[in-house]
Symmetry: C2
């Protein structure tokens, strides 16, 4: 039986998620927004019976057994940890820092019977499901290079807010790059060991962001990841991933993920999958676009994210439908979903890329295994602000 | 009046160049090949009256006033310098090292009345001529990012040779990357100050390259160039160029050069130019493919290089036609051609990228201003071989 859902957030993902949940048969009982007004407006629009700006009102809502958290990154950790603490299943977006992600991992480990997955949805996109299967089957041979490009219009909100602030989790790397980092480790089955990156903020001010305010989050980011290499030397052995993110391209949306191997290559362009074997007869369409069959929501998210989100919601339905009890869920349908541990890894890579952009050097990816001394953190943050 | 031409080389560029020269009205009097047999075969095929494997026989040929040098990089310097020394005009491909390039610059400076240009031909491709004009006119606003991708099949010769050897000027970076480095500095009018790169050799052996032989030249290369920045900090300010070269893709040829600015973007795909202004109505085709009108040679070179070469030969004709005397040429038609100084700059960037791939760090591009102590070079080469 499907659990009642409480949704945190009034942004574009939340706006898309609610109709998707409803279409799959989930009842959305409660909506949280940063202001009563925002929450009220959207609740009315989406037909949600209860809205609030107090998080506990959603978390303690008796009909809510699944909490979906799509809010600014700095607020995510607290809500996610609290939700797990009072026995709710959690789907959430990334946190703002590795320390926050680590706290979420600790909570998730403490309540293994509760569902806790990251809402990075590209893993569920059928094109990437098929790509992963073909990679396992050896379609490209030995994987050599992954080359990813995401180009699009600005990610900034019209008014000044967290999207403008690097330290609050704004910027292309944190918002979009994190979904790519997660996807690549999922596709090729190994993790980044060293990264090198460059972040730029080309648009530092705009019509509505002016005066003393300045955008600090990146609108151009390039990074390389050296995945699961043998360890010796600079970038020798292992798979080399290059990722280019450019959000200075109004009117465009390019989402291309290419995996090149010794025997051929696979390319996902948008939601479609193409492949070419070496010596074969040119590129073949392996998975076409089947057209969108969900509710009318399409313009708020780029197609790969929208389709991925839709498939994730379907997987959630399968997971919960397997059991009679509202809170219980089956692991298998959501087995490929990113865990909070994956979320911590992704956040660690994001921070290593930022470090590399400052140092100009390759930086190691070392996933936190215990919570750092908070005083040490403070020192680091102060240090960083100085630069 | 058009000068008689002597061609060095029997590779694919030389094979294409000769018919192009002939079609423009140049008489090709002499052909040099590494062996008498190779030279004889190609001379017969292309209708060249004289062939030899001794370079002086071409250089001293009384009817040859223009020498075109398209041979393995380690041999280029000597022929080019000798040709200038006996008063011949020179068009040539890149040398193998910055030291060689420097010697060519010295010779070119010594004979300013002789034509001495690098045969990197992308500058002459109509798409890039138009792109440069549009950039000057402000089509994209302030240039922020250049993003270049060249994907194709292996660059290796079937049998073991210089293309397999990094130190002999083989590999994607040296062969193709150098044309892109030259093109980008020409397009945006500034030079790389710092570079970061990663080279890989994924295919180290093949059916015909085996045993103790191993390919050392790169088949995958990614590099970033920080162009004309203000100087302080890591990658802050200035234009950021990212270049991805992948020659592990049999059956593919992708040649895409994108320039993104504050007001729009321009993209050359193959030989076509597209543009989009921010706020405009999507992408517009600015320069389509006009179809190949030259002699039947197309399959030996990728289309952008073939078309570029064709346009360069036409420019050469205009340059020489302007004068009655066979050795005289007008500067204007070839004013945009890369000089030997440009060749030295390109070679310096190539070597900085290789250094960066070994060190893992950003490397400064410092163009040689005096010839280094040859003993010092020897030490460096020995040092490098040890690593």
């Amino acid at each position: 039986m499907l659990p009642g859902v409480g949704v945190f957030g009034t942004g574009s993902t939340a706006r898309v998620l609610v109709p998707l949940l409803q279409a799959e048969g989930f009842e959305v009982h409660a909506l949280w927004g940063q202001s009563e007004e925002e929450a009220g407006c959207l609740a009315k629009e989406l037909g949600i019976p209860f809205h609030t700006s107090r998080s506990d009102d959603v978390l303690l809502h008796p009909d809510v057994h699944l909490v979906c958290i799509y809010i600014p990154p700095p607020m995510t950790r607290q809500i996610a940890v609290n939700a797990l603490g009072i026995g709710k299943n959690v789907v959430c977006e990334k946190a703002a820092t590795a320390v926050d992600s680590f706290k979420m991992v600790t909570a998730a480990r403490y309540y293994p019977q509760l569902l806790s997955i990251m809402g990075n949805t590209l893993r569920f996109l059928p094109a990437f499901v098929a790509m992963r299967r073909l990679l396992t089957e050896g379609y490209v041979g030995e994987v050599q290079v992954c080359d990813v490009r995401v180009y699009g219009p600005s990610l900034l909100d019209r008014s000044y807010g967290w999207t403008c602030e690097e330290l609050m989790g704004g910027g292309g790397l944190h918002t979009v790059g994190s979904t790519i980092i997660d996807l690549l480790s999922h596709l090729i089955g190994s993790r980044a060991q060293r990264v090198h990156g460059l972040l730029r903020t080309f648009l530092q001010q705009s019509g509505s962001i002016c005066g003393i305010r300045r955008v600090t989050s990146d609108d151009f980011c390039f990074f390389q990841m050296s995945m699961g290499e043998s360890g010796s030397g600079q970038g020798v052995g292992g798979v080399c991933c290059t990722v280019t993110l450019n959000f200075n391209m109004p009117g465009a949306f390019t989402h291309e993920v290419m995996v090149v191997g010794s025997a051929g290559r696979l390319v996902a362009r948008g939601t479609e999958l193409y492949g070419q074997r070496n010596g074969g007869d040119g590129e073949e369409l392996l998975l076409g676009d089947v057209g969108w069959v969900g509710p009318e929501v399409r313009d708020l998210l780029p197609p790969p994210h929208l389709r991925g989100l839709g498939s994730m919601v379907t997987a959630l339905r399968h997971s919960f439908q397997a059991h009679e009890e509202r809170r219980s869920w089956a692991r298998e349908p959501v087995a490929t979903a990113p865990t909070f541990e994956d979320g911590l890894y992704v956040q660690t890579v994001v921070e290593a890329v930022k470090r590399s952009s400052r140092s100009g050097e390759w930086e190691c990816v070392e996933v936190m295994t215990k919570e750092p001394d908070p005083n040490h953190n403070l020192c680091e943050a102060l240090q960083r602000n100085k630069n």
